[in-house]
Symmetry: C3
Subunit: 346 residues, 3 copies
Amino acid sequence: MAPVRLDEIVSRFGGELIGDGARTVAQVASLERAGPDEISFLSHPKYRLRLGLTRAGAVILGGQAAAACPVACIVCDQPYVYFARVSQWLNPRSRSAPVRHPTAAIDAELPSSVSVGAGVSIGKGCVIGERVEIGPGCVIGEGARIGDDSQLYANITLYPGSVVGRRAIIHAGAVIGADGFGFARESDGSWLKIPQIGRVVIGDDVEIGANTTIDRGALDDTVIEDGVKLDNQIQVGHNVQIGAHSALAGCVGIAGSARIGQRSTVGGGSVILGHITLSADVNISAGTLVSKSINRAGTYTGTLPFLEHADWLKNFSRLRHLDAMADKIRALEAQVARLAEPKEKS
Amino acid sequence: MAPVRLDEIVSRFGGELIGDGARTVAQVASLERAGPDEISFLSHPKYRLRLGLTRAGAVILGGQAAAACPVACIVCDQPYVYFARVSQWLNPRSRSAPVRHPTAAIDAELPSSVSVGAGVSIGKGCVIGERVEIGPGCVIGEGARIGDDSQLYANITLYPGSVVGRRAIIHAGAVIGADGFGFARESDGSWLKIPQIGRVVIGDDVEIGANTTIDRGALDDTVIEDGVKLDNQIQVGHNVQIGAHSALAGCVGIAGSARIGQRSTVGGGSVILGHITLSADVNISAGTLVSKSINRAGTYTGTLPFLEHADWLKNFSRLRHLDAMADKIRALEAQVARLAEPKEKS
Amino acid sequence: MAPVRLDEIVSRFGGELIGDGARTVAQVASLERAGPDEISFLSHPKYRLRLGLTRAGAVILGGQAAAACPVACIVCDQPYVYFARVSQWLNPRSRSAPVRHPTAAIDAELPSSVSVGAGVSIGKGCVIGERVEIGPGCVIGEGARIGDDSQLYANITLYPGSVVGRRAIIHAGAVIGADGFGFARESDGSWLKIPQIGRVVIGDDVEIGANTTIDRGALDDTVIEDGVKLDNQIQVGHNVQIGAHSALAGCVGIAGSARIGQRSTVGGGSVILGHITLSADVNISAGTLVSKSINRAGTYTGTLPFLEHADWLKNFSRLRHLDAMADKIRALEAQVARLAEPKEKS
């Protein structure tokens, strides 16, 4: 990408430029590292100190910070969103001419705009959209579908029949459509497999992180709606539904048949138990075990403060005796009431 | 699979048919989605409402629910187990004629009934059983063994010398036999690798989920006994032993040398610390950290209730002061005892 | 490896031999399993019972245990470190002559000492050091660099531009350099991707476990310093820095921009929140959520005791009412003070 003038940026994305519109920038960078050819941003007041020291060519920021900016700046309402747009413009997805690597094993008809890397396997009956890129080592099972402009990095597995929408970004090692964990227990304690005959159906504009797994449905489908963002190492059980524009951080586990509403967020390492329903606009803090349904928007938390180990030993052993502590308090209240009684009479 | 008559089902699997034995079904489905050509099941009384509305061709259920069933039904003792059998019958594992994909790199002798997908690598000295299917992108290290009728999906890695029993199902991205996490610490804080020379030995009828990892033993072997079911994204450390017919849900971590007894269950996201022993028939609730051995069958839990964030802030900050609270209660008890004493005397 | 004499071991690694120096051992083994041709070790007094029963050819141990050893022994200060050296000597990394598998797709110039397995893909401009081994199914993106003597097992993905130092060991399924989880939120709740233009830069002597993921930086780099050891299934977010010689156990999640100091350890399943800084020599217990920075060396814990489920129900429901319990204690203290006052006066 050739360098762009600041006035070009403002004419394309809006905002107010303070400084020389003819100055050019070629890349985005952090406030600390940016040089004169780079544009940075300030999204949070706590980083203002860094603003004062920046050597960036320009900074994207909100109105209150403009006076403190030592270099050119673009003033706008949502600096982080504005920055995202500028960065996307300066860093377009690189597309080379579509290739069909000779080591790929392709059993389906593909549009000529599709790119297929080395060692890829594409099964019979797959329907792949225009301009899809399938990186080296990916395995696309029979009858899977991938929408236009989707990008699959390397070593990804799509099981047969999985459906991925348009403009998906799927990172390396993700597994989509493996069997859900469904077994009936025999009376001797052994397990009888329930065939998992549902699919995974993923909407448009979904991003799926590295080594994330999404199981196929047991009977009905597992559904990921439009615009959902899944970080790395997430496990999504069978028949889960994740509402549009929800974002889940790394290492989250969602047990079977849970439903997450639209525009929700789940912090890293949280676990959502099975058959639970979260309404829309629910935010789960990192590390929280969600053990019952939530029917009201809001932020929910269930985590422990950590302590120096010696303090932890002293305090947390008490947790085994909370019930006894509550009983003692109740007994004390009764005793004190009795003690107080005659006194107040007297 | 051709449609089957209800009386065929009952003659094959037992149970009592209420309704027209000549009716046919071709597939299983959930109570909500099933149509007249499909058979469903009711395993839990709380779904009875759905039973009343079902349009299924037939429902598998227990005796108490039969009267409420608006369609044909099969009455049996364990509806979910019965359903599993019917579904397995209607959804047999699809086997095409064995293939040897030309892009596979095979350095071992394989039975002609073995199927090998594109891009597979099979090292020297591997012993692969009859009718094994090895999906695209799998890497089978030197000297590994896989028992008859096992099915490996795609992009799985078996390290050299790993042993897998018969009828295994291994899902995509699983890694079996990587080095355990074993290091000796030098006095300067750096780490010296302990060569991991044990193996992974897996019994018969084991299922291993997508992206699950099972480390080889440090000196002795890591052992997964018959019938164990592991969900996705589980980490099994070196020298762990998992007893027969235990089932572990997604995202569980088992640290080195832990032993899990037979027929146990571990809920999603739980962590079992190293060198701990759990006896047979232990059930660990989801999200529990098991920090000491358990020598009695039963259900064990150590999780937090979650709260609205504001309530959590108020309540959980107290956890740092539980010890002080206990001290206050004790002091109060002493004071109240002193106060009460003279009074009772008087 | 041919058997070695005990006096050869002592002359190479030091320590004091008690017993016949001409005795030979060919392999290491555990105290329980070792036979006369094997050497074992005792690193912890609690295993002394096993020492008494061992049939090992020799045992590496500390001075206090020598008298109790029924067989030859090598007395040294750090038996586990000594054992690691002996085991590394007896179990050298097996190196066959370098191969270039014909199914590999190699777009870069490689030294002749590099070994490339079946189905590997190596992009343009990669710089691969001497004696590097790249296992089957690995995908090395354009412009990635790997230092001398590094060993990559199977099905690993290095995204373009990733940098790995010398003597790295990377286990199967690891993904290095995938996009960090960076999105700006639009006012309608949808997410705008922030291009992730930083890299992953990994120092020398780093080991990375199976299916572990390390994201590239958003703007600056994600940095893993020399000698860091990462177990399986760890997630390292964008712009994280992990100090030299730190060791992280399985299933740990490190959120974006967290910094972990040198020589620290993090127990399995722990979560470190974003933008947090841990100073050097910090030990985090397994299962702990680190929600704020730690600026002093030490051990920190925040985990729950687990209980039999019935006891848990009784005790842990109280957690929702800790604040009320504290209020009751305060009220009791005030009441008791009032009750005590006139009495002491009287």
